[in-house]
Assembly symmetry: C2
Homo-oligomer: 229 residues x 2
DNA sequence: TTGTTAATGTGATAACTATCACGATAGCCG
DNA sequence: CGGCTATCGTGATAGTTATCACATTAACAA
C-alpha cells in the first residue's frame, strides 16, 4: 500500500489500540495465527473493518491464512509509536491521579511515569509507587524538562486545569491527557486529548432513558424558550 | 422541529454532555444568556455544530438573542435523562473504583451510588464514602435488584470483567460502564459502554510519534509478513 | 506443477456527520 | 409601528467513515 498523505481516520487509531489487547489475549490463549474474523469476534469489530484499518499502513497478513498473532501486535505497536518508551508526568495526585500512577498496565505498554506533582504540602515527598515520588508543583517545569517528558497527565480539579496545562507546555511536553471536565487551551504544536468519564455515563443515561423511559413524544413541536429577557 | 424517528448522531449526545458543563461554568461567571458563538468558544465546538445538535431536539433559543443559560442547561439535562436520579452500583473497589466512588461530581449530576462490591474479604464492610459500604460480591444480584440499580460500573481486573457483567445483568441493570480493557458481551437489551483510558493515551502516542518522530516513509510499499508458518 | 481453498487487500458504494449559507424572526430603537 | 440588527434554525452540500463484494494470492495437496 502506498503511504502518500492519506488521512487516517481517528477511529481507526482508536481501534488499533484495542486490537493490540485482543491480540495479546488471543496469543495467550495459544493462537499463533488469527484471521480477521477471529480477531473481529474477539474485539467486536467487523472483519472488514479490521482489514481496512490495517490496509492504511501496509500488508500484514497472508492470504488464505491470516495474521501472525505476535507479529501483528508488534506491527501495530510500531504504528502507534509504542515500540518506544514515552516518559510521562502526572499532575494532581488525588484519588484519580493515585489510581493512574498505580496502574501497572501503562508501564507494561510503553509509558514510563517519570514524575508526579501536587501542590498539597502534605503530599510532597511521598512515594506513590516504588519509582515515583511526589514533587512540589513549583518544580514541574524544571523536572519535566530534565526528564524530557513528552506526555503530561492532568488530574487536578477543573479550576486548576488551565494553569497546569500551561506549566506542562512550558515544561516541554508535546501531548496532554486531560481528565478535568473542562477543555483547556494549548498551543498549536501541543496535542491535547480530553477524557470525559462523565460524558460516557451521560451517554449511557441518555440511551437508557430513551429505551426504558416513558414513550418518546413523536411529531410534536417541542419549543422550550428561555425566560423572557 | 419534528421528532419523528430521526437518528441522532452519537457524537451529538457526547457533545450535549459537555455543553452542560460549559453552561454551568458560564452561568457561574454571570452570563444569563449565551449565544451559540460564546458557548462554542467556551467548549471548543463550532457555533453551527451547537445549533445543529440542539435542533435535533427542539428550539431552545431566541433569534437575535441567544439561549437562556440556566434554561438551556436544564433542557439538555432533560434530553439526556439527567433530570432523574440513576441508581448506580460499582464492582471492584480497587484503585480506580475507589477514585470513582469518591468522585462527587457524579452525585451532583444525577447519579447515586447505592452500593459497591468486592471479592476481597479484607475490604468487605468498609465504608468508602459516608453512604456507601462495600458488600461481598455474592450479594451483588440481590442488592442490585433491591436497590433497582439501573447502571453498573465495572472496575475489576480484565479476567473478571465478563463474570461481573453477567452478574450485573442478572441483577437487572440496564446499562454498564466498563473500565476493564477487554470487551464483554451482554444481552441485546443491556447497553454497554467501554472506557478505554489506554486507547486515549495510545492515540496521543500515535499523534506524537507522527509529528515529532523521524520523517514518515512515503510511497513505499510496507509489507511486514508474519514468520513463515 | 497445477488446481483448490481460505482469507486477505481494496476499489466502489452506502451511510453517517459536519459545515455552510441563508432565510426567519424576536427584540430594540427611533 | 416599521425598519434594523443580531442570532437562531435548517436545508443543502461537502467531507468523513464504514460496509460490501470480489479479485488476488499464499499455502497445500495430489
Ligand atoms: N475521581 C474520579 O474518579 C474522576 C473521574 C473523572 C474525572 N475526574 C477529574 O479528575 C480531576 C481530579 O479528580 P480527583 O477525584 O482525583 O480529585 P482530588 O481532589 O482527589 O485530587 C486533586 C489533586 O490535585 C491536587 N491539586 C489541586 N490543585 C493543584 C494544582 N494547582 N497543582 C497541582 N496539584 C493540585 C490536590 O492537592 C489533589 O491531590 C478532577 O478534575 C476531576 O473532575 C475525576
Ligand atoms: N487504575 C487505573 O487507573 C485504571 C485505568 C484504566 C483502566 N483500569 C482498569 O480498571 C480495572 C481496575 O483497575 P484497578 O487499578 O482499580 O485494579 P485494582 O487491582 O486496584 O482493583 C481491582 C479490585 O477488584 C477486586 N476484584 C477482583 N476480582 C473481583 C471479582 N471477581 N469480583 C469483585 N471484585 C473483584 C479486587 O479485590 C480489587 O479491589 C482493571 O480492569 C484496569 O485495567 C484501571
Amino acid at each position: 500500500m502506498k503511504q502518500k498523505e492519506i488521512k487516517i481516520p481517528e477511529a481507526t487509531i482508536k481501534r488499533l489500540s484495542t486490537y493490540i489487547n485482543c491480540l495479546e489475549r488471543l496469543d495467550a490463549e495459544g493462537f499463533q495465527v488469527v484471521s480477521s474474523e477471529l480477531l473481529g469476534e474477539s474485539c467486536q469489530v467487523s472483519p472488514a473493518q479490521i482489514r481496512k484499518d490495517l490496509s492504511y499502513f501496509g500488508e500484514f497478513g497472508v492470504r488464505g491464512v491470516g495474521y501472525g498473532t505476535k507479529n501483528l501486535a508488534e506491527q501495530i505497536k510500531k504504528i502507534l509509536g509504542l515500540d518506544k518508551i514515552w516518559p510521562t508526568v502526572l499532575v494532581g495526585v488525588g484519588h484519580l491521579g493515585h489510581a493512574l500512577l498505580n496502574f501497572t498496565f501503562f508501564r507494561e505498554h510503553g509509558y514510563r511515569m517519570v514524575a508526579a506533582f501536587d501542590n498539597d504540602p502534605g503530599k510532597i515527598g511521598r512515594e506513590v509507587t516504588t519509582d515515583v515520588i511526589i514533587h512540589p508543583i513549583e518544580k514541574l517545569v524544571e523536572i519535566t524538562r530534565e526528564e524530557r517528558a513528552a506526555i503530561g497527565i492532568i488530574t487536578v480539579p477543573a479550576s486548576s486545569a488551565q494553569e497546569t496545562a500551561d506549566r506542562l507546555v512550558e515544561g516541554g511536553v508535546k501531548g496532554i491527557l486531560n481528565f478535568a471536565p473542562n477543555k483547556v487551551k494549548v498551543p498549536e504544536n501541543v496535542t491535547i486529548r480530553n477524557v470525559s468519564i462523565v460524558s460516557e455515563l451521560d451517554n449511557l443515561a441518555y440511551l437508557l432513558s430513551k429505551k426504558h423511559g416513558r414513550r418518546r413524544l413523536t411529531r410534536k413541536k417541542t419549543i422550550s424558550r428561555p425566560p423572557k429577557l
